[in-house]
């Protein structure tokens, strides 16, 4: 009896294999983004200019190792060792996009980023514990040729930060200020920009995005500022070259004022490497490795690595 769930899971997994291995072009209509014979390996870091009707989920884990959360300091001439620690994150994104017309789509993305916490020192000093939020947007095609596409976007981001910050709370007590131990910070941002895709050959493409927005920080005293997000990616489809239904994406992104930042002058740089199964015309499954370099509220730099699994179905 106890074997039944396991057997059912095995049968389900085996049933998925022929579906996943269906030959490209079987449905007669390629629904994944493509231009000039190139199937784009799109990614969440750079975005893409293709209005589609699709649903996407991304599940990921991230870790920052050996953070210097509180630097070494001196008390009365005696050196006191600072605090280092690890931060562990889990990330879940769900997005639904609807192509209202072939030239425009709207999307709604909901995301949760929670800190799992693997080290007491890290838990105590770096406060953000949970970020829930959503993004609402419009994507509209502005120009299209056989090999290029340019689209405009407009969106609003609404996030809620739950922050448990023992260090700030303790500092507040020492300074005689009423700093809450647990607080919630809603952060709203609006913006828009341009997204570009270029099918260089049937196996190589390029993606680029530039966005400008205005919004606030998650800091105790909210700071409003303008921000930019720029990104670029290469899309490599191995199918035309080696007859292998695999695509590779490599991307880079720069945020002048990331959503998670407590201070507007903290920039972030991110990179992504994606491997995508491209054997179906209407479905992709991708494995992501990404990294972000940003600055914590205490001023120290942090490198965070993420791994994630993305599935997207195109209707």
């Amino acid at each position: 009896m106890t074997c039944r769930p396991r057997r059912a899971a095995l049968v389900s997994s085996l049933a998925l294999i022929p579906w996943l291995l269906a030959a490209p072009g079987l449905s007669g209509q390629v629904k994944v983004p493509s231009l000039g014979g190139h199937r784009f390996v799109t990614n969440d870091l750079t975005g893409d200019p293709f209005p589609t009707t699709s649903i996407r989920t991304t599940l990921g884990m991230g870790k920052a190792l050996d953070l210097e959360l509180i630097p070494d300091f001196e008390v009365g001439g005696e050196p006191v060792q600072g605090i280092t620690g690890d931060l562990l994150f889990a990330n879940l994104d769900m997005e639904i996009e609807w192509a209202v017309q072939d030239w425009m789509s709207v999307w709604l993305e909901a995301n949760v980023l929670g800190r799992l916490g693997s080290d007491t020192g890290a838990l105590l000093t770096e406060g953000v514990s949970l970020i829930t939020g959503f993004e609402l947007g419009w994507l509209f095609r502005l120009m299209e040729t056989d090999r290029t596409q340019l689209s405009g976007s407009a969106q609003i981001w609404s996030d809620n930060f739950t922050i448990v910050n023992l260090a700030d709370w303790a500092d507040g007590i020492i300074a005689g200020e009423n700093v809450p131990l647990v607080r919630k910070a809603p952060v709203v941002r609006t913006g828009g920009g341009l997204r570009f895709a270029w099918a260089i050959t049937d196996w190589l493409g390029a993606l680029g995005t530039g966005e400008l927005g205005y919004g606030e920080s998650a800091g105790l005293e909210p700071a409003n500022d303008w921000f930019t997000q720029t990104s670029a990616a290469l899309s490599i489809d191995l199918n035309p070259v080696w007859d292998v239904p695999v695509g590779v994406g490599v991307g880079y992104r720069h945020d002048s004022f990331p959503r998670e930042a407590g201070d507007p002058d903290k920039t972030a740089h991110g990179g992504l490497f994606r491997i995508t199964y491209t054997g179906r015309d209407d479905f992709i499954v991708s494995f992501d490795l990404s990294g972000t370099k940003s600055t914590l509220t205490n001023g120290s730099d942090v490198n965070i690595g993420f791994t994630g699994l993305t599935m997207r179905y195109y209707f």
Partner: protein, 219 residues
């Protein structure tokens, strides 16, 4: 500052409504519904914000630039705000204690794109709100507190809806998500310094039904 915002909004409307000869059609109508709103902000200790429901009504002037793309100007009135619940010792759930009602004359400009079948649509735009009344109700007594709030607000709107024809009119059902993109709280009065949290914005859903007439016949 407010007059400049108003002038900018007016010029934007005029610019968007410049006709394209031979492809446009005007429709006029009214809409009414309910606004389910809440304040999102740094709630003071032991305070929780609650969703409240207020009425909304608007005129509707729509201009179809193409069969699938419409610009809509919907001047109206809406009451937004928040319920306020307070944590009380020995009671598990926070107790609904007070109510904040913010009444606005609203001037939204929306772009609407209809689906291929023409039945469903999505909309997005900006709304300029002019505060007419701010009332705080506590223990049965109501007090006007306009002094602490900005005279105007700016909100982003995103919506979905459907339309259908019945008789000579076109009927609309829609849901809008609205989010004020700047704090609705202005410079605090001296005697209330520190009362309002740093972030204080309204957001929520608006459920609307409307009827539209085209002077020259249906579109």
């Amino acid at each position: 500052m407010f007059m400049r915002t108003l002038a900018f909004a007016g010029l934007t409307v005029l610019g968007l409504l410049i006709p394209i000869p031979g492809s446009a059609q005007w429709t006029f109508g009214v809409q009414a519904g309910l606004s389910r709103s809440k304040v999102s902000g740094d709630a003071p200790e032991k305070i929780h914000y609650r969703t409240r429901t207020g009425p909304m009504v608007s005129l509707s002037v729509e201009y179809a630039r193409t069969p699938s793309f419409t610009l809509s100007f919907e001047p109206g009135f809406v009451q937004r705000g928040t319920g306020i619940a307070v944590e009380v010792p020995d009671i598990k759930e926070p107790v609904d204690t007070a109510d904040l009602a913010l009444s606005y004359v609203t001037l939204p400009i929306l772009a609407k794109v209809y689906s291929r079948g023409g039945r469903a649509f999505v909309s997005a735009g900006l709304e300029l709100g002019l505060l007419t009344k701010a009332e705080f109700e506590l223990g049965g007594s109501t007090e006007s507190i306009e002094q602490g709030f900005n005279d105007s607000s700016l909100s982003a709107l995103f919506g979905v809806g459907t339309r259908f024809r019945a008789g000579p009119a076109e009927w609309l059902l829609s849901v809008n998500y609205f989010q004020s993109v700047v704090s609705v709280v202005g410079e605090e009065p001296e005697d209330a310094e520190g009362f309002f949290p740093a972030r204080f914005r309204t957001s929520g859903l608006e459920f609307k039904a409307g009827i539209l007439f085209a002077p020259g016949g249906g579109r």
